[in-house]
């Protein structure tokens, strides 16, 4: 689903440069739920921005769903994001001028594929427990509800991959657990491919695999079985 080869990202020019990614190699298979973890400044958000086509690398290769996406034009990348990728930001990213329902169906509205976008948006919002909040504006609902609406929006076009950039960072524990459970449910029941950046070690229990970054490089990878083994030892 995602193939990354020697991905690099350098910010700035001349002497005032910062190397965020020094050559990342990784792969994500269809239906996987991946977490990218690492310390602050390790390059995990930069990597996710590039994978989600929100930013461009300075070097390397990136294939998503078999397509060399870095070779696409700006307009083609926008279309690719709209059709095949869903993105959830760290902070609330709903459009303040639209209702929760409008926020969710907006990406579907752009695709012109079907006229049932409104109905599907309502279903999505009901799925994430916001069936009663359709006509509310973002500033009228809680942070957790906004984030769940953002998840519904990210899923409305049935994306191949869902990217989430520290989706629980600004949420309380209860709301965070609801969001992560929702991710796990999507992954298990619908085989939704999810790539999530997180800094919470506890989140490891929800994912299939963790890619650890350090100083712009992949440091190591770990799987669910390791977490379970660690838990067993602690017990």
């Amino acid at each position: 689903m995602i193939e990354v080869k020697n991905l690099q990202k350098v910010y700035g020019h001349g002497r005032a440069t910062t190397t965020a990614l020094k050559g990342i190699d990784m792969e994500v298979k269809p239906g996987e739920f991946i977490a990218i973890m690492g310390r602050s400044g390790s390059g995990k958000s930069t990597l996710l921005h590039i994978l989600g086509l929100l930013d461009m690398p300075t070097g390397g290769e990136l294939k998503i769903d078999g397509k060399e996406v870095l070779k696409l034009s700006e307009g083609e990348r926008a279309r690719f994001r709209l059709e095949k990728l869903g993105y959830i930001f760290q902070e609330y990213s709903l459009l303040e001028e639209m209702t929760i329902l409008e926020n969710v169906y907006l990406p579907a509205l752009c695709l012109e594929r079907e006229n049932s976008y409104r109905k599907r948006a309502v279903e999505m919002l009901e799925t994430v427990g916001l069936g009663e909040r359709l006509k509310h504006y973002p500033n009228e609902v809680s942070g957790g509800e906004q984030q769940r609406a953002a998840i519904a929006r990210a899923l409305i076009n049935r994306p191949k991959i869902l990217f989430a950039d520290e989706p629980t960072a600004s949420l309380d524990v209860t709301s965070a657990n609801i969001v992560l459970e929702l991710f796990r449910k999507l992954n298990k029941e619908l085989r939704q491919t999810i790539v999530m950046v997180t800094h919470e070690p506890e989140d490891e229990k929800y994912v299939d695999r963790v890619i650890w970054l350090k100083d712009g490089l992949v440091e190591k990878e770990s799987g669910l079985y390791e977490y379970k083994a660690k838990q067993a030892i602690e017990i």
């Binding site: 930013d55 926008a78 279309r79 690719f80 709209l82 752009c110």
Partner: protein
Amino acid sequence: MGNLKLALFLAYKSIIKGNRWALFLIILVMSLSFANLILTPSILSGVTNTLDEQQVNTLFANIVINPEEDGYYLDHVEQIEKKIAQFAGIVGVSAHLNSSAVIDYQWRERSSPSDKGKSGNWSVIGIDPSQEVNVTTIHEHIIEGEYLDADDRDMIVLGIEITGGDRAQTPSFLTLEGVRVGDKVRLNYANGVQREYQVKGIFQAREMTQADRLAFVTRKEMASVLGRQIFNDRASQILVSIEKEGDESRLIEELKTIGINGEIRSWREYGGAVGGIVSSFDVIASLISGIGLVVAAIVMFIVIYINVINKKRQIGILRAIGIKRDVIIYSYLAQSLFYALLGVVLGGIIYGYVIQPYFNLHPLDLPIGLVSLAIKRETIQNAIFGIILAAAFAGFIPVLSIVRQSIIKAIWGN
């Protein structure tokens, strides 16, 4: 959904749910900019209109018929007048018999024959008062005494700049220094004829000092001065007033078909110095409008720019979702055009229902006369076009600069 529809949807949501104060401020700026763009030219147009009206009302009427270049007089005047009066759109025809004379006042009080005393040389026009009232408005500007009657022979009406006195603008030594109604004046015509007249009326066209330097007697009287047998059916010029201003050219062409042995011209061709002032005012009005438009564009640009910059994060999110740059640009262009159109409508209402009625009730009291606002259609068209263009520019530039940034920078500002 098509790009345009989507852009309009985004623009609609942004206007409806955007910051009310920002919306109010933008539309207020647009309205006042538009009102300002049409106000200054309309004041200048008002001034030129007043000057034009003065020319038409007191000196030339709408159409002037003069003798051919090789002649001094028009012949068969009565016949010409009748023919002209038959045309639709003609309000009045008046033949003038012009001369000049040295006008003396209190000549008996002179100390010696070489004493110039109170005298001066002015134009004297012979008119038929009953015809003249349909052509000029001198009769409405009588400030003392009365206007001429058709049968008056020893009566004269003088302009205020001839009689002199407190209300005259001309230095007193260039006037008769205070002639009053009922006083006698002596006219020494250019052909040597000398006549005495009683001053029947004094007029002050006020704004038009050129007209206020004229003296009027009846045409019968002037014909007798010049030679009744020869000048009974002659005129120095014929003035024609018409119903609808702007019809001059058409009527001139029609009048040329009836075989008048003279030169038929619009009053504008005799405008002289005033015509130059009008042209200069047009240039000034264009310059002020141009500067006003640039200032309005800058103000609108700043206000819309701040508004768009405040929505930078929203624009970033739209792009992150996958909405194309073009759609976002169209959306902000649509918003700017909406602001501009609403500004034009409100500015038009402010101008039409507040500013113009105020100036109609309280016209500007300028030396040339009372000036109200006059707006030309092309001024309004230019202002609308200018505001829309400026708004489009003001909406386009900031949003273009934002959509060219990386999505991450637009959302997070780094």
